[in-house]
Point group: C2
Chain length 372, copies 2
């Protein structure tokens, strides 16, 4: 590959070698363009595992793998790109995963991803669901699917599988966003279900074929589910559960979070009950409650206007200064300039803009802090 | 009985012949004093069932009945009078029951009612509770009782019984407010439980011995439970349930309402789930959640300051004008004066006071409406 690499090919190459949610790299891609970053990565003399993977990357092998598995690569700006993902562009880190828009998505299946995502609700929860939880999930998924909403989930056992099945049972649409590559069906027990979703709709992954799921990839996958759904419904989840991570992403993206209450004697209801108690989720018990949360009030306003991103319209330099802030403490202009890799004089200018927008404020001792 | 009837005896007599929550009579008692109202009732030539019952009332029979059943009659101002009930003084009607402070309470048992009510939590719910609901109730009641809180409930089957039993099981305090008179134990299946509550703590009723429970008396009883508890916890209740009525009273009295979530497949959890969804109750799953809601923040501030009653300090005439307003529509001064039985000139003066207090406001067309 050389400097004539197309942006699409560069995104495909980059997505093939980086871990999902590599915030810094995504920022550099936004700033310099994917082809520039890819070429830089190939030419750098600094040794790194990433550079090593980049040098070993072979476009023709990727093209062959994709053809073999019936995959296409969808990038921002493509007609099939789901608009919801754009809200991830300047998202921060959640649960150890840097935010950022995916470089692209591998998609398998006959459906059109962006069209399927125009009206979609994520239904998520625990693998070790209770029988009641699975029945409730199937009913809720069937109900929203009947109303024309795509049921979005993660293709796992338990709540995920029940959500997909509920939609399929009524001839509704469903999409699975997988944590591993789309070279095979994982988990194996969901082979039939996932094949059917691919045949009738789409499977989606941020990871290249051949890549196996990992904890990091599960967490990064959760941000895609949160971003693509208009709301996220948590049916059952224990206290420590990936669903909490999905919820954190949904909050960060100003998506609605809904939760199904359960018996206080059921460990699988601890997370939904807690989310409701803390005001982090609205309580839902039936399909109508979900539809009430996602259906537009004004007919025709199919997609509610996006929440204004406070970073919209900032220059890359201003964004870099904003990103350089620690979450809770203050920093001097010199420290910020260093962290943001911006000359001090321009850092001062950027801080003025951030202050005008209410994003940052000077402290009494002459340092700066984020305004939350 | 004659014009020398003591206020206490007059309250006892009145409470023996009126239905609980007779708002108009309670207002007249507040305005003219119980002895005056009782004497008026005895002497009126206007025929009514109430006047007939008053003429048939025999103080010595009541005294005999009370002695036989070990009852005492507690009136406002008595050391044993629970302070929380005073908040009912100017309460409006809820669920077809006029508000108002009870004229007095029949009390049976060795405990001191006001002391038991200083720190009390009402735990209420359905008679037809699930096994899980009863276990959860027992655990919650035991937990708050262990922390020195009196568990207040209605002595019925199901959640009520489980609440009382939970408190007793850990040597805690519990009080039952009954809808019928305290001449026998109702329901019969709770004989042992109610006897024990009477022996160790107290049973309470607004109704005279001999009176059987009725729908109206159950509803009126609910307002006492709501008023006496610092918070009301709803564990299980179907959609149509007396618990909803207790909750309405608690809201009217600015008491906290807490609810235990349950499976969406359980009809017995429909009311708690709905209360939480509508923001009418905070979700609680454990003893700590309840204690967090009722324990004072400042040690020593055992009873949180009463919510200011907007009608405090109004003259009876001003209160009468305020009461004369319809809930949602406007009325002319003439209509209000007629309804309040107040001369028009004085009605205008009363409206000025109500306006100054932010309770009423003139409309554009010269009429008046309540400010909510």
């Amino acid at each position: 590959m050389n400097s004539e690499t197309s942006d699409r090919d560069a995104r495909l190459a980059l997505a093939s070698v980086v871990e999902p949610g590599s915030g810094q790299l995504v920022k550099e891609v936004a700033q310099f363009g994917p082809a520039y970053v890819w070429d830089f990565l190939l030419r750098t003399t600094k040794e790194s595992a990433l550079a090593e993977r980049a040098r070993r990357y072979r476009p023709r092998i990727m093209a062959h793998d994709m053809e073999r598995h019936g995959l296409r690569f969808v990038v921002p700006g493509d007609p099939e790109w789901p608009a919801g993902l754009d809200d991830l562009t300047w998202s921060g880190a959640v649960g150890g995963v840097a935010g950022g828009c995916p470089l692209g998505l591998w998609v398998a299946g006959s459906g059109n991803l962006s069209r399927l995502m125009e009206k979609s609700v994520a239904i998520v929860g625990s693998r070790a669901a209770t029988a009641v939880g699975e029945v409730v999930t199937t009913d809720l998924a069937a109900g929203v699917a009947e109303k024309g909403w795509t049921v979005l989930s993660g293709g796992a056992y338990g709540i995920d599988a029940a959500a997909h099945q509920g939609a399929l049972a009524v001839g509704g649409a469903t999409v699975a966003v997988m944590a591993g590559g789309l070279h095979d069906f994982y988990p194996a027990g969901n082979l039939g279900l996932l094949s059917r979703i691919r045949d009738e709709f789409v499977l989606v992954s941020e990871n290249p074929p051949g890549q196996t799921p990992s904890r990091l990839r599960f967490l990064a996958r959760n941000r895609l589910i949160a971003a693509m759904g208009r709301a996220t419904v948590v049916v059952e989840a224990q206290l420590r559960s990936g669903a909490r991570n999905t919820v954190a992403w949904a909050h960060g993206l100003q998506r609605q979070v809904l939760a199904v209450p359960g018996a206080v004697t059921s460990a699988q209801s601890e997370t939904p009950n807690l989310l409701i108690r803390n005001g982090e989720a609205a309580l839902v018990t039936c399909v109508d409650h979900i539809l009430e949360a996602v259906e537009p009030l004004v007919p025709g306003a199919e997609r509610p206007s996006e929440p204004p991103l406070p970073l919209d319209g900032l220059t890359p330099e201003e964004k870099a200064v904003h990103e350089a802030f620690p979450a809770r403490s203050a920093m001097s202009v010199d420290e910020l300039a260093y962290e943001a890799r911006v000359p001090v004089r321009r850092c001062v200018a950027a801080l003025t803009i951030l202050e005008l927008r209410g994003l940052a404020a000077p402290t009494d001792d002459g340092r700066w802090r984020l305004v939350h």
